[in-house]
């Protein structure tokens, strides 16, 4: 079943369909520079998720967090809550691609008896930290020796330049137009305007606004790019059985997939299949685990640092044939109430907040609970597509019946 390409491969994950569920979600305010630390933000998100699940901090015996940005690990948890109990933990959680795979780790820990209630947390304070970073969020890239010597000196840095180059090649190969990229940005902004928690709430955008926004790295315009934000979110995963005893409706973990680019392909510049993401490999694995097809998906959120990344993932996940996402997203396709594929219904990284995917998962849970600000009528199956460049991941959640 697992597909392999000469540029990447999917991980072989055990089926966990129906074993676990997300029982609690928590979010902080999403803002521009707040002056807060990521650790403070993480603690607030954790508090709220635990309370939403109807639990106490002492009930949380598992924690997944980002090892790369370890702002809220076990020590921070105990320091904040004044607890000291044993906790199973993994640094392979948090946001980005890992916001999709953390429920898999949780399900495995729960079924093997290592934990009962697992919290996944991801805070970010990049809006506050930005001025001290080299190239903003590009900093972690600039520190890699091959990029530092073979890309940065040549002006191929940071992310807006990578994705301008990818977007141009997508235009060359498939005829994708600026207006089609704009349709992604407009849908995100439309949803943000229905969501009072979104950073860009109250800031309507037209296609003319999009097309006339400043060009950063042609063909990438300002309004193709994600925000830079402070904020965080968290969710609690437990067994489906336990979730049914807790106050909130369970969002059942139905499928998880992950796939990585291999070898040189891990550098954007060297990815053989330049206009594809590892979703080509991840999404089919997750859909198979959940027993669903793209046509069954009621709501989709994907990690959307740039409009082109949304287009590529939509086609790579199989919602339309490869190369046709531009034509697919035209019109109202992505709208929450009228579209064929309700997409990033909270506003996404483009217009909600740049909290690196954790809010995308929370949004899918809200949609299945029926409590999203831009609610998709009757949403029963929701998907989050995570992306880091070198890795993509897929989480399928299903409303409990």
């Amino acid at each position: 079943m697992l597909e392999e390409r000469d540029w990447g491969r999917a991980s072989d994950l055990e089926s966990i369909d129906g074993q676990a569920a997300i029982a609690g979600i928590g979010e902080t305010a999403y803002t521009k520079a707040s002056g807060r630390t990521a650790t403070e933000i993480g603690a607030e998100a954790a508090e709220r998720a635990i309370a939403d699940a109807g639990l106490e901090p002492s009930d949380i015996d598992g924690l997944t967090y980002s090892g790369a940005f370890a702002d809220f690990d076990v020590a921070a948890f105990h320091a904040h809550f004044g607890t000291s109990h044993e906790m199973w933990s993994s640094p392979w959680g948090g946001g980005m691609a890992w916001a999709a795979t953390a429920p898999y780790l949780a399900a495995r820990a729960i079924t093997s008896g290592r934990a009962r209630h697992v919290l996944n947390v991801f805070p970010v304070a990049w809006a506050t930290q930005r001025s001290s970073m080299t190239g903003g969020p590009g900093e972690t890239h600039a520190t890699q020796p091959l990029k530092q010597n073979l890309e940065v000196p040549f002006g191929w840095f940071p992310q807006p330049v990578y994705f301008a180059t990818i977007a141009r090649r997508h235009m060359i190969e498939f005829g994708t137009t600026p207006e089609q990229l704009g349709a992604v940005a407009l849908a995100a902004r439309r949803h943000a305007n229905l969501n009072p928690a979104a950073v860009m709430h109250g800031r309507p955008m037209t296609m003319d606004d999009y097309l006339s926004s400043p060009v950063l790295a042609d063909p990438v315009k300002l309004l193709d790019c994600c925000l830079i934000s402070d904020g965080g979110a968290a969710y609690v995963t437990t067994s489906l059985e336990r979730a049914r005893d807790l106050p909130r409706p369970a969002a059942v973990v139905a499928g998880v997939g992950e796939a990585r680019l291999t070898g040189r392909n891990g550098h954007w510049s060297q990815q053989r299949d330049f206009t594809s993401t590892p979703q080509v490999l991840s999404a089919p694995a997750a859909f198979a685990m959940a027993g669903v097809t793209p046509a069954d998906i009621d709501v989709l959120t994907v990690y959307d640092p740039f409009t082109i990344v949304s287009l590529m993932q939509i086609e790579d996940m199989g919602f339309c044939p490869k190369g046709e996402a531009g034509r697919f997203v035209e019109g109202d396709t992505l709208f929450h109430d009228a579209g064929k594929l309700p997409f990033n219904t909270h506003g996404g990284l483009l217009s909600h907040a740049y909290v690196l995917g954790i809010a995308h998962v929370v949004e899918v849970v809200k949609q299945l609970r029926g409590s999203a600000p831009a609610q998709v009528p009757g949403a029963e199956i929701g998907v989050y597509g995570g992306y880091t460049g070198a890795m993509a991941s897929t989480l399928v959640l299903r409303k409990d019946r």
């Binding site: 080299t134 091959l146 530092q148 002006g155 840095f157 180059t165 990818i166 790295a217 042609d218 053989r272």
Partner: protein, 149 residues
């Protein structure tokens, strides 16, 4: 984690993984590692060949003709070093000698609006200088959109 090297963003010509690339450029040559086991060109320079399990390589001069795979016209300076250089064109060039070699560099001698996909380009060696790194330059391969041959 901000980058401390004083000559950043010039390349670190002493980094052993890429030093031969810049040494070759200083001689007016475009060099790429060739796998000693299977003989294929292996770009980027990494520990293993992507065609076989080879782990030893010999830097080899190659012909500098290629085609323009894709590019960005950078208008916003993302680093202070680029402030006086924008707008510039940076992109990916696929070498004729082996299409698996895709190089990142500046595309020069062009009007950005007139570049077209897959057009021929040719390597040129030019000094890279940044106003933020006074009195230092490194000769690097760039790609001319007006090939002489």
């Amino acid at each position: 984690m901000a980058i401390k090297r004083a000559d950043f963003p010039l390349p670190d010509v002493d980094d052993e993984r890429t030093a031969p690339f810049f040494a070759a450029a200083a001689r007016g040559e475009l060099a790429v590692p060739r796998c000693d086991t299977c003989g294929s060109l292996a770009w980027y320079p990494m520990d293993e060949c992507d065609r076989c399990d080879g782990t030893s390589f010999t830097w080899t001069p190659v012909d500098g003709h290629g085609t323009l795979f894709s590019w960005a016209v950078v208008r916003r300076p993302f680093l202070p070093a680029f402030a006086e250089l924008v707008p510039f064109v940076t992109g990916l060039v696929v070498l004729d000698v082996n299409p698996r070699v895709r190089m990142v560099s500046y595309v020069v001698d062009c009007e950005p609006e007139r570049l077209v996909a897959d057009q021929p380009v040719e390597v040129v060696f030019r000094p890279l200088r940044f106003p933020t790194v006074p009195d230092r330059e490194v000769v690097v391969p760039m790609f001319s959109a007006a090939p002489r041959s």
